[in-house]
């Protein structure tokens, strides 16, 4: 019995029988308050609850119980409950969760008189996948009941090993065995990635039901000429399942073969497709009305045989996000023929398809693709221009850089999603072609192109240019970037400050002085962020100045930077001054006080004492951050300050505090937490509280 009293025990028993499923679920969560002998039988009872949440909670508790042997025995007994399938399924789930600890009890029941029980036992062993059950499962492969044999085959597929593979091969190819068992054995062999030769599978391949499963196995047999012949035969089969299984197997085979052999197989398949157009036609026709997995296989196969007829249907399929990468890969494989088809159909394609086509053209990147992409960069539709810009990034700087910069400079101020997307695409493409990883000459070219367009441009255009410059500029461009600090637009100046912060130059702090005195708060915030990231200790005075700024957001950034940079400084004088700043800022507006708590959470140390005063602030965000500081940095003896917050008006504070107290194992909090639990209405906080109580009691 835990420290909970008898009253709690009675409440749990009463709640377990409640008509309200949520009450029963919460009672299962608190079941540990019952006596040791009572817990497991009660949990087994709840495994048969009418509500799945209650069953789930009981499964979790059973799996985590302190007497796994007893739990396993009770769970195996529960498998015999033919009246309640919910309990049976939950028992299998709990046995799987128990894992290795349940194997002995399960193996002992493998010969149960009831075939249903034997099957559930085997299912549980399959879920556990333990090698110690191998012998018992091999024995079940000879069970009198075909369902048990099939389940044993599945289980052996989950465990593997030489004996399992041999037994499964035997079952799969035994023509006197039940088809269900043979099918399970083939499936298990596929799971185990077992290669089977065509002659071994001859009887399987001729079977209309088992044939497709057999073809699938041939895809792992890369040294068997018979396998390839059987697969080619499968590809032209009149049975759709066989054709599609053969396609999947062929894809697998190509993946396994080395370069020359794979290329030779590709050629052979392309010739086959040429000689048997029905193969391609059937695959294209099927694209529209099959599941995602089959669509993926078909698309890959059509790419493998380089079918020009498939280009437009596959392109159209690529509008589905889930299929886009596969279609792109397939069309890239088709190569120049794909470009030709796309070029010819361009006028009839809708905007979505043209966008997908741009990605293909970018991958293939021949002269014809480049020409089409450069044309698309001037299309009337911004979403197509964005797609073209993204594709041009992979075409190479020589052809694409100047057109991309020109397009950026021409961009209209367009308050649309498409406009945002185009801007992002252009910016990313230019940064990719001329950014830090590019050749210096390309960067110089892009900087020159961008700088030439800044003088006469409007605010929005200068801002776009400044942002890209900020991302690609190098040390030699510091003067140009510094000049942007004099721009009339505050947003451009802000972008310039961000760029200066990025340039690793000794000159950087000096231009930032201009920004500290800027009239726009956004520029001063950027300056405070830049100063906070500077390695120079000289920035302390500038940050202090910004900590007195008229705008609370600027003060918050400066105070946080002071805390992080100097709050744990080895220089005692600088550290003391930084801590004094933090202490002073605790009385400031909420964003500033929050910045103090966030800085202290990271640095800890002497500053932690300041955060206690923040616990009394009216803003829950500040209280929560301060509570985190207290939880992370103060001694156990000082955690008492958190107790009143267990009943804080804001749920997020209550949850955080209870969790901290649980993690810190602060046992003195238990009575306060229990009192609060009686009236706690928030489900999430209740669940956090129950977990915390478990830690505190455990």
């Amino acid at each position: 019995m835990s420290s909970f009293d008898e009253r709690d025990r009675a409440t749990v028993l009463e709640d377990l029988a409640s008509p309200d499923e949520e009450v029963r679920r919460l009672a299962v969560e608190r079941i540990e308050v019952l006596g040791r002998d009572e817990v497991l039988p009660r949990l087994v009872e709840r495994l048969g609850d009418s509500d799945w949440r209650v069953r789930k909670a009981a499964v979790r508790r059973m799996a985590a119980c302190r007497e796994p042997d007893l739990a396993a025995r009770l769970l195996v007994d529960a498998l015999a409950d033919g009246e309640n399938p919910g309990r049976r399924n939950a028992a299998v789930e709990a046995l799987v969760e128990l894992g290795e600890k349940a194997v002995d009890a399960l193996v002992a029941s493998c010969r149960d008189a009831d075939a249903d029980v034997r099957k559930f036992v085997v299912d549980a062993l399959a879920g556990i996948g333990s090698e110690s059950a191998l012998a018992a499962l091999l024995e079940r492969l000879g069970d009198g009941d075909p369902n048990v044999r099939a389940a044993a085959a599945d289980a052996l597929g989950a465990i593997g090993g030489g004996d399992a593979r041999r037994a499964l091969r035997e079952k799969a190819t035994c023509i006197d065995e039940d088809p269900l068992v043979r099918f399970s054995a083939l499936h298990a062999l596929d799971t185990l990635e077992e290669p089977l030769r065509a002659d071994e599978l001859a009887a399987v391949l001729d079977d209309p039901m088992l044939g497709p499963a057999g073809l699938g196995l041939l895809g792992r047999c890369d040294d068997d000429p018979g396998a390839l012949e059987a697969l080619v035969k499968g590809l032209v089969s009149g049975v759709r399942a066989a054709r599609e299984s053969a396609m999947r197997a062929v894809l697998r085979l190509v993946e396994h073969l080395d370069g020359a052999a794979a290329a030779s197989l590709r050629e052979r398949l392309a010739s086959l497709a040429g000689a048997e157009p029905e193969v391609t036609r059937a695959a294209i026709e099927r694209l529209e009305d099959c599941d995602l997995g089959t669509q993926m296989a078909l698309v890959q196969f059509l790419g493998l045989i380089r079918s020009p007829d498939a280009v437009i249907p596959v392109l159209q399929l690529g509008r589905d996000e889930a299929l886009a990468p596969v279609t792109l890969g397939a069309l890239e494989q088709i190569g120049a023929a794909a470009v030709e088809q796309i070029d010819a159909a361009w006028g009839e394609l809708d905007v979505g398809c043209r966008g997908a086509a741009c990605a293909v053209l970018g991958r293939i990147a021949d002269a014809r693709s480049r020409e089409r992409l450069l044309g698309a960069l001037d299309d009337a539709d911004p979403s197509l221009r964005a797609a073209a810009a993204r594709a041009l990034a992979s075409v190479g700087a020589e052809a694409a850089l100047a057109p991309l910069v020109r397009r950026l400079q021409l961009m209209a101020t367009d308050e649309t999603l498409e406009g945002d997307d185009e801007l992002r695409a252009l910016t990313d493409a230019i940064v990719e072609l001329a950014g830090p990883d590019a050749e210096e000459a390309r960067s110089r070219e892009a900087v020159a192109l961008l700088a030439s367009g800044l003088a006469d441009a409007d605010d929005a255009s200068r801002l776009r240019g400044a942002r890209v410059l900020g991302a690609i500029a190098r040390d030699g461009d510091a003067d140009l970037v510094t000049r942007l600090l004099k721009d009339p637009s505050p947003e451009v100046r802000r972008a310039a400050v961000d760029a200066i912060a990025r340039l690793a130059s000794d000159r950087t702090p000096e231009p930032l002085h201009l920004a500290i005195a800027d009239e726009a708060p956004s520029v001063r915030i950027a300056a405070a962020q830049a100063l906070g990231a500077s390695p120079s200790p000289k920035v302390f005075e500038d940050l202090r100045r910004l900590a007195d700024d008229e705008d609370a957001r600027v003060r918050a950034v400066a105070v946080k930077a002071i805390g992080l940079r100097f709050g744990a400084d080895p220089d005692p004088e600088r550290r003391a001054r930084a801590l004094a700043e933090l202490n002073r800022a605790c009385d400031d507006e909420a964003p500033v006080a929050l910045a103090v708590a966030e800085a202290v959470l990271e640095i800890g140390g002497d500053a932690s004492a300041y955060t206690t005063q923040l616990l009394a602030r009216p803003e829950p965000e500040v209280v929560l951050a301060a509570a985190r500081c207290v939880g992370s940095h103060v001694a156990d003896s000082d955690l008492e300050v958190l107790l009143p917050l267990v009943s804080h008006a804001d749920w997020s504070v209550r949850a955080e505090v209870v969790e901290i107290l649980g993690e810190r194992r602060y046992r003195r909090a238990v009575p306060t937490i229990l009192r609060r639990l009686e009236t706690e209405q928030d489900d999430f906080v209740r669940s956090v509280t129950l977990n915390a109580l478990e830690s505190l009691e455990g």
Binding site: A380, D381, I525, A526, P591, L594, E621, A625
Partner: protein, 310 residues
Amino acid sequence: MSLSRTDDPPAMTDREFRLFAELVRSHCGLAFGPDTRFLLESRIARRMRDIQISSCSAYHYELRKDKRRDGELANLIDELTTNETYFFRERGQLRALLREILPEALMARRERSGGPVSIWSAGCASGEEPYSIVMLAMEAGFDPGQDLRVYASDISRRMLRRARKGSYREASFRETEPALREKYFEEKDGVFTISERVRQCVDFIHLNLMDRSRIALLGAMDVILCRNVIIYFDADGKRDVIRMFEEKLRPGGHLLLGHSESLINLSTSLELRHLESDLVYRRPRPGLSSDPDPWHLAARLAIGDAERES
């Protein structure tokens, strides 16, 4: 109105997500769950970058302190509710509005006090829906100045700016016959701008469907279209909005929802009405238990006119 596309997601704890989701939900009804969490996170990340705030707590405070709801909270809502729609969407429903609901409502108005039929496009996004109604009304021979008055509202200020401007790209015309586009739009550099005579027929208003005091600015309505809006609300939010629509509709007034939306488990106050080309909801008229016969109604109107003349 619909949820917008996604951006890069930030790191946000489950608790922070819940805090933001509750704040947005209580402000405008938009509900975010596990499936749409990525969207809320990415839009918040973008706003945090724009206004240079680096912690979720600081941003939450920024939203919470926006008591007038027209500062950062409005900016975030703008980000969350941008839209992709098009002209003449769900045309069968618009046909039902023009061929069946509007003539009937017009006769009913004439029978009572006269005046135009009031139509409210609630959640109009960038204006395609209200402009579609006006264009179809013109095509059907109605005089938008005399016969109907179209109000259009959205919570997104950004969308309303686009709606008022009335400029659209190719993607907005996927269901538009070229002849109609030619007739009602002027094209320049791939941008199509709605004609002034259509633009003048729509009154735009910035409205949060959860804000009862602002909604009081609108009078009683004969028709409310709220299509593909409440799908983004949770059950309580949907009930609140539908209750408000019930109050706003005149007796006999119609509510048109999107085809994937229904009032099952939300309201029993509105009756389902089978029209020739669509199913719509209607606020029952006291004393009238069945559909009015349009011929009967027309005859009554004609008799009334004759009596007045004599």
